[in-house]
Amino acid sequence: MKKIILITALTAFGVLQMVNAGDITGVINFKGTAPAEKEITPIKDDPSCAALYPGAPPKTQFYVVNANGDLADVVVSLKGITGKSTGASATPATLDQKGALYVPQIVAIQTDQKLIVKNSDPFVHNVHTKPKDNPESNEVQMSGGADLTYTFAKPEMFLKFQCDVHPWMFAWVSVFDHPYFAVSGENGKFTIKNVPPGKYTLEAAHRKLGTQTAEIEVKADGAVQGFTFEKK
């Protein structure tokens, strides 16, 4: 009986938290002119890859800025929160290898959340993780081969995935031990859902442009906070 009361109370508390929780939204802007991206010319040296790009080769995607100056691929997260991961039950994230590139190149997941890596290319890749705090791995993935599944036990920013067969291929996976994070989209917008009310430090991290923080207060109706990056 006591157990039932306890579970009911905890569930009620959880639901109450969810009801009161708000979303943190915002837009990431880029100030000035973004550095020009460089063509990945080695793609043209590899016949299998070159066949996928009859015209110009693709460019690097270090600074994804749209015409309005909105900046994508910024990892926004709450700082100082630990041990709140719901990764084990979260929907798996996906990372594809397509056109001899990783798609997307910036990913964020929770600890113990599954990351499914696919190979949509008509040729082989090796998936080589180069973490700082998690174990390194290196696996072959043939064209049409089975998906590879990864989980990471420790939080880590910008954990590198690389393909050594095609050494221009990189993806960076940020791992958090809580669910309060998002990656800005092509319109620069991000949404961190269901954040319990309170005061937090919000961090925005771009792999090339560095990190910014802001002190915010999340109320029942959420909070709005933007960031502006520039290349110094």
Binding site: D46, N126, D164
Partner: protein, 330 residues
Amino acid sequence: MNHKYQPALFWFAVLNAVTTFLLIGLGGLVTSHEAGMSVPDWPTTYGYNMFVFPLDKWVGGVFYEHSHRLLASAVGLLTTILAVWLWLKDSRKWIHWLGITAFLLVIVQGILGGLRVRWMLDWLGVPHGAVAQAFLVLCCAIALFTSRWWLKSETEKQISVPRGLRSHVLYVTILIFVQLLIAATMRHQHAGLAINDFPLAHGQLWPATTPEAIVDYNAHRPPGTIGNPITAFQVTLQMIHRLVAYAIFLGIAAAAMLARKKLGGADALTKLAWFWLALIALQIGLGAWTIWSNKAADVTTLHVMVGASALLVGAIWWLIAARRASLANQ
């Protein structure tokens, strides 16, 4: 058993040395193309016996890594045959053991290469590179010891080479080996260029390595740079590499001038010393070109091969000089 010149044995030893030199070049291409981990398994290749790995899968970095493995197997086979041949057909006991040493070294080298892949340890690439250089010197020394000149030199009058000159060349050769270790350490950081200008370094004679400076260097790397961020250690290491290069150049220039003074301009060792100097000048030029080309794979690999050649010339020069001195003093 005999003590005579055996052309077939000599030319086989030369073949082994040349193949080893090419193997170092191919190994250089593997690292220059960042392809070392493109085949995650070893001694198999993508689960295949490496000798029957399908041609259609030799794509991208796999081409370099798999070719390197096959050529390494060929060197292993050649070295094994050479060791057996020396043991059976050369009358000198010490060269038997030199053959066995080469055999053991090629096995150690193969295992080092395999473990670097299996254990995913970047730093294992450094001893792998160092053993490669030492093995090349050993293979060339064996070729020298089985040459007509070496075997007939006992019966010919030899002009001695002063001890001071020999020691000088030995020290410079050891310095070149140290330089190759520094270079291997730089290459196996997988960070691209730590300093991307020359002759200045980040626009200065000696670049700052404060945390703020390193952040600034990383923020202003050439567009398209995709290696790991550079560190203060890597910047300092490249500066040491530059300084040691200048020291080696001066050391070899001194060796060439000393050789001309002590042995005369017509002596073969003097000519070899001038060739050595030309080689190191070329090597410094290639080092500069490596930076100006933002570490283009072919230029960088050429830099590796000329570096190996410079080590080799120093070692062979010293062995010939030691032989001449030994015979002249008998």
